[in-house]
Symmetry: C2
Amino acid sequence: MLAAMEKPGLRERKKQRTREALIDAAQALFCAHGFDATTIDQIAGSVEVSPRTFFRYFTSKEDVALALADDQITAVLEAFAAQPADLPVLTALRTAAVEVIRTYETDARFHSLQDVISVNPALTAARVERATARFAEVASLAGARMGVDPVADPRPYLVASVALCAVPTTVVAWRAAGHQAAESELTRQAFDLLSAGLDYPAGPAVAGR
Amino acid sequence: MLAAMEKPGLRERKKQRTREALIDAAQALFCAHGFDATTIDQIAGSVEVSPRTFFRYFTSKEDVALALADDQITAVLEAFAAQPADLPVLTALRTAAVEVIRTYETDARFHSLQDVISVNPALTAARVERATARFAEVASLAGARMGVDPVADPRPYLVASVALCAVPTTVVAWRAAGHQAAESELTRQAFDLLSAGLDYPAGPAVAGR
DNA sequence: GCCGATAGTGTCAGTAAGTGACACTTGGCG
DNA sequence: CGCCAAGTGTCACTTACTGACACTATCGGC
């Protein structure tokens, strides 16, 4: 079960190359013309592959756009599991998330794709959908960390949903509003605010609106 | 601008009836056969209207399914604005959300539609999309309540995204996991946990996995 | 009560996503 | 070489959704 580092055979490697090529082509086209304006025919065409074949690699147009986002979630999961066991949940999760985002932050391809996703509401929502599909995994890890049963206690689920869904969404909204701070910094900030609790008291009336 | 309670004319009323009829028909069909298995032709047909006309009332199939969800968000917005100004943000938002959900909780139609949405990932995602579109409104209200500028301070946005996106998602996940508690109760609980902060310390190792 | 502007609807033709069936090509292997 | 199966292309099809244009029914003024 562990030994699988063998060179995977010529066929397998070709398949992998096709997959990568499709992702690259899709990203390039999405960045150039936008998500909606790009057709499957174009993506497939620019890799010299039939549209039918595209759908043998990706279940939908969204799928190819979110391939990297999926990898990112997986990476956060792994980093979360690797944190020292005595850390409070959100602290561990924050550290994991920030670590992962730091890794991607230098990747130009990642950034332009990030923009493509942020700009398109349907894509943004689809990313949340992907995240939702993995709540159970995060909740399970969080529950173990807290020493509670994630089936009996709603808190691990809440932590998972906030981390996988609210935090990235907030970051996107915040960026879209014109604040160009680094993703990792915004993420760290969001987690810290969540740690402290969100029930801010009423303040003095603010001038203007 | 205030006087608009006039009987809106025969034409307008007919339009409204068609809209309601389409929503009802769609809901019935969705509940009976599921979202994907229901076609626009069926919905339009059962109201004796052309498919083209359907798209003059709703921009998409999702749109008709989420018509009620939109109303719900609007209701929460209004209830939030109506809360006493000296309440802490999350407390006010929690009260508003619980009030609204209580209202809908007795509506059988709402419940079956809720199930239709939860069961379909694409619909769930679309609902998140709708919620995301209204972050700015909630953030603005929250900012005013906190006495801070929602453009300069990320906290109102965080509150908005958690309330509109993470909380309902958690509730759905929690229900899907088999816990049949009332929506309003789960929502209240989620808000209370958020108020207290989520950074739970590491606990003793839990038996089982 | 007639009549013209206009809102609402139907018809038709078209694009694009996504799927199933089947035939073909090509890598892996005796 | 020649077989098997994975991978791919082709074709035909369904369905969501859109634009153009013609038709019908309401509403306003006369």
